[in-house]
């Protein structure tokens, strides 16, 4: 089922591919806005959880996080590129697409100009996961949550939580200069 969804998404995305650019010794990718319009992704972006996009290459990963803040009616967005640089800001729904198009550093430039890129969309972030895990562990029977004493049972139940990809994309891209 997952592979069918993956194949369909891949076929759909073929017409709207990311753009790869070279800047010095770095490789940057601009992701297509059509990804944000995918039904599955759209549904995640409307939740209060932090939708996480992992951009994977052979040697490095970059991460994009988007969370809708109902209080201020804005999106809290964050990028952590392959070089470890972090940037975060708030954008309105109208600004989100433009921000999304901004290229992100995904790898150091190697010998070839072609690069395989995989994008994995996760329904929540590591922070969401950790928070839910602690909450579930405490619900599971820790007598004194402040004591930070986790029983084996709490740990076993807590570790069941993990973000399974909503969708994945894979492209083989050639850089434009």
């Amino acid at each position: 089922m997952v592979s069918i969804v993956f194949a369909l998404l891949l076929a759909g995305a073929m017409s709207d591919r990311p753009a790869l650019t070279i800047a010095g010794d770095r490789v940057l990718v601009a992701l297509p806005p059509s990804i944000l319009k995918q039904k599955e992704v759209r549904a995640r972006l409307e939740s209060a959880l932090t939708t996480t996009f992992i951009v994977k290459t052979k040697d490095a990963n970059a991460r994009i996080e988007i969370r809708y803040d109902l209080w201020d009616d804005v999106y809290r967005v964050k990028r952590v590129d392959a070089a470890g640089r972090t940037s975060q800001q708030s954008v309105t729904a109208a600004q989100l697409e433009a921000w999304w198009r901004t290229p992100i550093d995904i790898a150091r430039r190697g010998g070839a100009d072609a690069i395989d890129v995989e994008l994995v969309v996760l329904p929540f972030s590591a922070a969401d996961e950790s928070d839910a895990r602690q909450w579930l562990s405490k619900s599971g029977g820790a007598r004194d949550p402040s004591a930070d004493s986790k029983s084996v049972i709490d740990a076993l139940i807590g570790t069941t939580l993990s973000a399974r990809p909503v969708v994945s994309y894979r492209w083989s891209l050639e850089a434009r200069r």
Binding site: D128, A132, W135, T160
Partner: protein, 344 residues
């Protein structure tokens, strides 16, 4: 081995039942938290905080804090909802595992206690029989000395007295009575003189087959049946002492069937033990003596026809082997005695 399998089956069955119960309970617990209307109420609460902010801007920080707390709760529920099946399975697995461990430990302790009690019972019986053995040895010794002296005196008295029919009859009568005492003492001694077994690996099936052929010669009208197991069964035993046990059991069986019944031997492996069942078609052991059947001087025979030491001797021999002898079943259709030996 059988105990272990039984324990495992009990644990598995109990765990399955428990697992099924937990499945219902855990599912219910999670579903209460993950109910759509619970999430709906939380969403409304979020919107309410926003409306309160608009109505009461002065307290915005307070409403914001409540909003964030509620949002985090909703996020947590959403994360758990996405992992519902996994959480449920792990929860059930953990509880079932704990339950299985508890049942296993309890069963193990119970089994160990049973085994300890059994060992204690055997040790007590061995001690009792050993005490009887020591008493028999002393009695035999105490009787033998004056018996010998009495015989010598009768011999001397007979030589001093002029020959006569009346005197000879009296002397013969005394001799006869002394011989009866001597016979009594010999039986007594047989119990006192049971040696400690010299244990070796013996093929029980072969030993039983040889014994059957030998005993059949002594009791030609007795039917002795033995279906040898397909492969040799080795036990730790003293060949001579084990044969003595078989003689005792089969002699009892022969007497119980007037030498015309059937005795059946059956060998079975039971974990680290081997059972040899000896069944006869006699009239069974009377209920009044079943509990004391292995005690010395307990017998169904008439006075003067055996002292009731055979089963006590047999059990003593098997206890000394680290094995046991038990009355497995008895009814008017016959009795079955079980010899238990250590498997090699």
């Amino acid at each position: 081995m059988r105990t272990l399998v039984t324990t495992a089956l009990i644990v598995a069955a109990a765990t399955l039942v428990f697992y099924a119960a937990v499945h219902q309970i855990a599912g219910l617990w999670l579903d209460v938290v993950l109910r759509p209307d619970v999430r709906g109420v939380i969403e409304h609460s979020l919107l309410d905080q926003k409306r309160l902010r608009d109505l009461d801007p002065a307290n915005e920080a307070r409403y914001r804090q409540r909003f964030e707390e509620t949002r985090r709760l909703m996020n947590r529920i959403d994360v758990v909802a996405m992992n519902r099946e996994r959480v449920l399975r792990r929860f059930e697995m953990v509880l079932a595992g704990l339950f299985a461990a508890i049942v296993f430990v309890a069963t193990f302790l119970w089994t160990a206690r049973q085994r300890r009690n059994e060992e204690r019972r055997r040790a007590e019986q061995l001690a009792r029989l050993t005490a009887w053995q020591e008493a028999s040895r002393r009695h035999a010794h105490e009787i033998k000395t004056p018996l010998t002296a009495a015989r010598m005196e009768i011999d001397r008295l007979a030589s001093l007295t002029p020959p006569g029919e009346e005197v000879q009859r009296a002397v013969d009568s005394v001799y006869e009575e002394l011989e009866r005492i001597a016979q009594f003492t010999r039986e007594f001694s047989s119990f006192a003189m049971i040696g400690q077994p010299v244990l070796r690996a013996e093929e029980l099936d072969k030993l039983v087959a040889e014994f059957r052929d030998m005993f059949a010669g002594a009791w030609p009208n007795l039917t002795l049946r033995f279906d040898a197991p397909p492969s040799p069964v080795a036990v730790s035993a003293d060949r001579d002492l084990l044969r003595q046990v078989l003689v005792n059991l089969c002699t009892n069986s022969a007497h119980a069937t007037d030498g015309r019944g059937t005795v059946t031997f059956a060998i079975a492996r039971a974990g680290d033990r081997v059972h040899l069942d000896v069944a006869d078609s006699g009239g069974g052991v009377p209920p009044s003596i079943q509990a004391r059947i292995f005690e010395p001087y307990v017998t169904t025979r008439k006075i003067g026809h055996g002292m009731g030491l055979g089963l006590a001797i047999s059990r003593k021999i098997l206890l000394d082997h680290g094995g046991d002898l038990a009355l497995l079943s008895t009814s008017p259709a016959g009795s079955t005695f079980r010899i238990s030996l250590r498997r090699v």
